[in-house]
Structure formats: C-alpha cells, structure tokens
Symmetry: C2
Subunit: 527 residues, 2 copies
C-alpha cells in the first residue's frame, strides 16, 4: 500500500536532517582515503556509464539515512506504480507513460481498450518507415528531388529535448556513416527565429516537422503559418513539405495539410517526450531509425535499473536522494550541470526544463502548501568553456552550488592530435578530473585572494563515448532522478499549471482587454 | 577622498536592511496605482532604451535608502576613479580601461608614456582597415579568392561576448545590407568542437582570428594547432588564413604565422573585451567597421550616463542597487535574464560570465573575508522559449528568483505576418508584458495548484529595435551594473583567481604527477 506523505513528516527525514554539515569534504577527499572513496562510491549505469559520487559530501552514515528515506518514502514502489499505469499526474488526472515509448519494459498499460505500448511502438514504426522512404528518395519534393534538411517546429518540450539530442549525436553520426539529413529548429514566436532559419536553408529540399500535442500551441501554429507562407512564396506546395506530430484528437491529426501524422497522447508530458515521436520523427530523419532505436534501448536499460530498491545500486535514485540532502538539509539553492562534451552543449538547457518545470512547485500532490523547499535553479554550460566563465563563483563565491559533471573517455568526431604530449581529449578529461578535486579540496594560500576553501561537492557520470545508447541512458537517468525527487517532495512532477497565467494575460493584451499596469506595459511596447 | 568599506559597515545599509519585505508587490502593481508605477519608475538609457523597474519590490522609501547607499559608498566617485585610470584591479595591480576602447570618454589615461585612448583607437583603426581590405578583395587566400567566413578561436571572454554580439546583429545586418561574412566560433578544448566547425565550413575561404591576450591559453593554442593542421591537410598555407588578437608582449605578437596582429593589453579584462579588438576584429569582418563603430557609440553613450550621481537618473547604478537590495536584504540567491529577442539567445551566457566571474568572490579588495553574500547565480534563455520551460519554477517554485526582462518593439529580420489579428512581434511583446504582470500580481484560484502567489519582482529594458547602438548600450549597462555591485560589496570585480587552481591540477594530471583521488579520477578517465 503506497502512502503519499510530505517530506517533513517522514521519520527518516528527521534522521537525515541531523546529519547537516556532517562530512568534511576536503579531509574526506585528501590522500588515499580520497582514492578509496573514488573506488567505492560508484554505481554502474546502462551503456557502460557509471555514476561516481565520491566528491559528494556524503559518507556511509548519510547514505544509510538516504536509504532509510528511500524506503520510508516508498520511492521505487511509486516508480512501479507509474510503470503500471496508475494516475501519477494527479493534477491533470493522467497516467505517466513515457517509459513505454522506449518499448522495452515488460508489461504494458491498457487504457480504454488500447494497449499503450503497442500504440507507441506503432507510431514509432510509422515514423521509421516514413524516414526510410525519405532517405530512399521515395518521398520527395514535388520536383522528385530528395529532401536534405529537416526542420522541427515546436517549443518547450517539443524543442529543447529533441534539439539537445540532435546536437548530441550530430558529430557521432557523421563519423559513423549514419548522418542522413541536417536538422534545424524553430521555436520562438519572435519572427526573427523563423526568419533566421528560413534564410539559412534550402526551402525546396526541406521537410518541416510540426510538433504540438494539443494542436493549439500559439508559437507553433504561428510559426507553421510563417513557414507555409515562405514555402508558397518560394513557389512550393506546403503540403508536400510538412508532417505533423500531435495527438489523435488534435485538429492537426487528419489534416490533408501534411504528408503524414505521427501520434503521441496525454500520457507523454512535453518535457518527457524526446523518446516519443516528438523526438523520434526528427531524429529518425536526421540519423536513421536504427540510431533512434539504439537511443531508445539505452533509455530502456537505464529505466530498468531505476527499479532496484537499494539506492546504492540505483544511480538515478541515489542521485535524487543526494540532491534532496543538498537541497533540504544543506539548503543549497541551485545545481550546475557541466558536461565535458561539446556535443552536450544544449543538454543543460533540456535538464533545466526537465527539472525546473517538473519540481518547481509549492503545493503537494493534494494541493496543500509544503513547508520545505522543492525544485531548484538548474543551469550549466559545457566544460572547459565554463571554466573560463562562471566557475569563478563556483570556486570562490559566497554560496555553495553542487555540481553534476559528465565526461567521456573518447571524443566523437575522430579528429584529434597530440600537442605537448597529450591529445585534446586527454586535456579535456584532465580538466574535469582537476576541477572535481579543486572544488572538493580547495587550496590554502597566504594570499586569501588565491585561497580556495574547497568543500564544494560534485558527482560525475563517466562513459566511454557519447553514443545513441549512452545518450539514452543519460536522458533516462535525469528523467528518473527528477521523478524520484518529486516523490520525495510529494509533488506532482507531471503538470505545469505555472505556465498558464501568462498565456491568459497575453491573450488579453492582444485583444486590448487590459487596464492598469498591464495596459501601461502594452503601450510602452506599442501593442 | 574615496574610502573602500565593506557593505555591512555602512550606515545606509543598516537603513536599507530595515526595509526587508517592505513592498507588497501584488498590491502595489494592481489597478491604477500599478499604471502610475509603470509611468514613474522608468529611467531613460542611451540609444532609445529605457530601464523600467515598476515591477521591482521597491517604493520611494526603498529608493531613498538606495540613494543614501550610493552616496555613502561613493559609487559614482569610484567609477570616475576607474575612468581616470586608478588601479581599481587591486589583486593584479592593474588599471581597468575597457571604457577607453569605446574611444568616447573625454579624458584619457597615460601609462608609461602611452596614451591608452589613442592606443586602443589605433588598434581599432588597424582592424577596420584590415576588414575593409578583406571585403574589397585586397586581402585574399593564396588563390586570390575572397574570404567568405571568419572563425574566432578563443575561450571565455574571447568567445562568449563576441559570439553573443555576432548572433545579436546577424539578422539585423542581413536585413540592412551590411552582412559581409559568416562567423563561426571555436572555443572548447574538446576536439569535437573544432571538428564540428571545420567540417561545416569551406576552409579555403575561411579566415581564422586567434584570440589570446597572454598568447598562452591552453584551449586556444591547442585549437590553433588543430586548425593549422586542417588547413595544411587541405593544401592551404595557414599563415595566409590567420590573424592574431593578443597583447604586444605575447609570443603571438610579431609572429610571421599571421596576416596581421591586433593588440589589447592587461587593462582590458577578458569579459570586458567585446568592445576591444577581441570583439572588433571578428565583428568588423562580419558586419563592416561602421557597424562595429555604431556598437561602440552606443556603449560610450551608456557609459556616460553611468557618471550621473543620482541613482534615479542612472540606470546601471539603479539596477545595481536594486540588485543589492534583492541579494543582501531579501536574500534571493539567483537572477534570471530573459530577453524577448531570439537575437539575444547567447546574451544570458555572456552576462553569466560577466556577473559571476566578476563578483563571485568571498574576500574584499583587501583580501579580507566578507560577512555577507556577494555575486549570485545568473541564468536565462530567450522568451517565449523559457515560458514553455523553466518559468514554471519562477512562477510557482518555493524560491523567489528576481527577473531581468529585455524587449523591443520591432523585430530585426523584417519578416512578419498577421495571424488571428496580431503579428508575431506583437505576440512576443504581449507575452513579455503578460509575464511581468503574472509574476508581480499572481492570481487567486480555488484550486491551489492553479493559484499564483505573485510577488515575484522583475524589471524590463525596453527599446525600439536591437541595433548596433542599442546592443552597445545594453552591454555597457550590464558591465557598469556589475561594476557598481562590486563596489557595493567592496570586491575587486576585475580579477579571477578562482580559475587558477583547476589549471594547475589539470597540468599535473597531464604530467601524470598525481596521487590519491586525483590519480583515481584520472585512471577512470583513461588519462
């Protein structure tokens, strides 16, 4: 029997709270004791990744308290309930089924007579067949010429995740002979976004993927019209250049305006939709369906690991629990995500949505205000770039910001060279190792301006190479981490009512139905 | 006589601290009182911009306390001292002269017999002439063909600022007939960064701008060799394809490896170097020197406004003071920068460096620990994209995050269309107006999940269009804001000792001179 309780009502949280500031991280990470932590505090993930938390401010006692919390809060039982199709999204009274898009979990969920696993698989198959026909030159423009570019039109979850995944695999695909089409993305209602993309591509050989679950997203429909007009201006027939990714009940679903339509449904939240057709159509077109399938396989393997009840063997669960310790006991307000991989340049922006939109909430799943802090600010840029930028504050600022590193032993593009006795890839890896230690241990100095207090905790996910499988595992890890943290905080991590008020007010501005300050701002902006 | 004092020793700070939680923002912004605030709480900036702080949690009494703080802390006197060439960067014992690169301030500073204003102007002129000769086809590749692409190789301040400025003006330049060359950027030591850029450009028609003040930056020199090898592999002579931006004393300065060298010096910090040759070479090549000059003019005009002692007439100073109130009295730990302009997509990343690297410090300018919080986490993405992402936390999360909006009445690319009675540009502007009010006033609702507490403060900088002048003014505004906050906190905002330790440790890893945890991490990463 699952019970949903606020974090501050759990006995285990009381025990955890007693362990504030328990670990002296500079001391713990010094000398051979530090080396022993690196060996011990590591959990295998899927696709050859591992989650190493040696440089987190935890020890066996803190970990025991976290294990007690996981048990009392029934975290893996709640994950199983989600997998079994219970209505986890209480606000919108919906199931949460994005894991089924990976097609790998044993069971399925039947809703209104529809086997959802089969439904998502069928849509994926449809998108795969479509992509194969485009690549084979069976689906072409009106002149019978092959499409060379795919442009995703979508915003939020229909943009950030697929865009981050495309960038993550672009160089890998080029190097491995499976790069099929360039991809571009239009998201912002700012007309300069669409204009910039349109001016930079060959419209006659471009295929547009319109993504809106509801079929009513203002930005996306506006940009669709923008693109259709540009196609017409170029003497092209828009219906020969567009596909839709939407829900079966949306106005876009049966329209003759599209070459094809691929479906998701209400059980796939936008920020969890990269493994559905929302990511599947554009990524299958860009890299081929086999690459997308490998991405799904990696995610599915990581999803399976998240069922393990022992947090010390469950990387997503452990990462989530350490985060709760940092947020609710240590009271640190932000977390930086720092991938040492240029290919992951937009992965932090995706995680920013995933985490902040899921857990940036003040009421629990029953609508009652909570008396503790929940989701935190997430930000990040790739290393080594960040080292020459905001790391100054991370090292010597007055606030402690926990860090989440990601690093790979091999690069993707297969171009590298030895300079002064090391390759660029080795320099990259040396830097991430160095940063972990600099943050953890600091350095004394007679000049206080050059001294580092240390005690700044980090974890690192290490892999052999960023591939479709390891990218899928990485994505799943963070999705499940966010889910587990939402359970700890007793939140509904799957709705986003906080985005509604702005929409309502923007409509009033456009209808000139305003007064007071809103009217004054509208006038300042010439609306 | 200027005296440098810690914030918590100032009488005015005591007065300000007594005003915690003074303003009920939802009430203040409601009804006609809100409209009156929008009219009243606005300061003109240069280039037609204005800084509107109506939706900040301030009132006349808070503002009076901020004015007292500005006076007691001698903020504009300290700015004048900087302009006059005093050694403001106490850590490195250097002057801070980036304002002179704008070439517009009345006086100059003579160092060791060199008039620095003339020096920076001469370098800018040299870069302008070089760019003109490239555009005229007088400087070409070995085959006598014109260069079409410019690639900046640099990291940190040599990357983020120039890249953000290029993206900010790309569409504007295309629309206004002054787009000369495509620009690309290589920064990360990850070899996939350089590989991705190299694979995407036509090497034979590309000109590379190598930017390193010291001439010793690991990432930049590595990427230079990477690029030179690629040029040689393509049968090209690297010395026909590269220019250097560096200091006169650097090993790059007189090398025959470059077509030309343009100089800055130790008085131009990396993150303040966009208006020096660091930005000037690449931006003059991309858009022509006239556009770069207009950018400098906008910055110079805004610099001049920052001299005004009355904070209510000095937008950078006022913005800084309100930020100190939010940080040190309200104790809010982060600020989001949210430009409603796709062209400013990387502007938040530049501000992240500018702010966090300048003021992310724990010791004052005399090396003594301070007892208050200083620089904060800065993050952001363009609206409306952010609305579909992390705004959920901003609206309904447990932490309050102050917001800095930017918006323009007109778009850049000149493509727009009317859909359902409004243009995309109007929809964009309606959204930013709506968001300000949603954050400030919130909304009651019977369903607590759909209720918004409001009380989330924001300011907005509004302009007519993002042009070279208004971009320059915007850049200067934030540079001077950060400087004034550094003065409030009694920091040296112009060094960055926090980036050093990681460099030292990375060298040890590469030399295999490690033990303990550092060695263990290096082994995990196969170094």
């Amino acid at each position: 029997m699952i019970s949903w309780k606020n974090l501050d009502t759990l006995q285990a949280f009381e025990g955890l709270s007693a362990l504030k500031d328990r670990v002296n991280l500079p001391a713990a990470m010094a000398g051979e004791g530090g080396a022993a932590r690196v060996a011990k505090y590591s959990v295998p993930m899927a696709a050859g990744l591992c989650y190493n938390y040696a440089a987190k401010a935890v020890d066996d006692e803190v970990l025991a308290a976290l294990c007690a919390l996981a048990k009392e809060a029934q975290l893996t039982e709640k994950y199983e309930a989600l997998l079994n199709g219970e209505v986890i999204n209480t606000g919108e009274k919906r199931r949460v089924l994005h894991q089924l898009t990976r097609g790998q979990q044993a069971g399925s969920v039947v809703v209104d007579g529809v086997d959802k696993r089969e439904f998502y698989l069928a849509q994926q198959k449809k998108a795969a067949e479509f992509a194969n026909r485009v690549h084979a030159g069976e689906i072409t423009n009106a002149a019978g010429e092959k499409f060379t570019t795919v442009v995703q039109i979508g915003i939020g979850g229909s943009d950030l995740g697929p865009r981050a995944m495309y960038l993550a695999l672009e160089q890998w695909a080029k190097q491995n002979g499976c790069f099929k089409m360039e991809a571009r993305f239009i998201s912002n209602v700012d007309p300069d976004d669409a204009a910039g993309v349109i001016k930079g591509i060959d419209m006659a050989h471009s295929l547009f993927v319109l993504v809106s679950k509801s079929g009513t997203t203002l930005e996306t429909l506006t940009n669709e019209t923008f693109v259709k007009n540009a196609l017409k201006d170029a003497g092209l027939d828009p219906s020969r250049h567009m596909v839709a990714v939407t829900s079966e009940t949306s106005p876009l679903a049966k329209s003759s305006d599209y070459l094809a339509a691929f479906f998701m449904d209400d059980y796939i939240g936008g920020r969890y939709s990269s493994t559905s057709c929302v990511g599947g159509a554009v990524l299958s077109l860009a890299f081929g369906p086999e690459v997308f399938q490998r991405f799904l396989d990696g995610a599915a393997q990581e999803d399976a690991l998240a069922k393990e009840p022992d947090p010390l063997k469950n990387p997503a669960l452990l990462d989530a629990l350490i985060g709760v310790y940092e947020r609710n006991v240590q009271l640190w307000p932000a977390t930086a995500v720092l991938p040492y991989s240029q290919a992951l340049s937009r992965f932090p922006a995706h995680l920013q949505q995933l985490d902040m939109e899921s857990n940036g909430k003040s009421v629990n799943r029953f609508g009652e205000p909570v008396d503790y802090v929940t989701g935190q600010v997430i930000f990040g840029e790739p290393g080594t770039n960040g080292q020459h930028s905001f790391y100054q504050l991370l090292h010597q600022g007055t606030d402690i910001v926990p860090l989440q590193f990601v690093g790979f032993r091999k690069n993707q593009a297969g171009m590298d060279l030895d300079i002064q006795g090391s390759t660029s890839q080795q320099k990259l890896c040396a830097n991430v190792a160095a940063q972990i230690m600099a943050f953890a241990c600091g350095k004394e100095d007679e000049n206080p301006n050059k001294a580092f207090a240390g005690g700044r905790p980090s974890s690192i996910i290490i892999g052999d190479q960023l591939t479709p499988e390891s990218l899928g595992a990485l994505l799943s890890h963070f999705e499940n981490k966010v889910m587990f943290q939402g359970y700890c905080w007793n939140l509904n991590s799957f709705d986003q009512e906080g985005v509604q008020l702005g929409k309502v007010l923007a409509k009033r501005v456009l209808a000139h139905d305003t007064d007071g300050a809103l009217k004054a701002y509208a006038e300042l902006l010439d609306i």
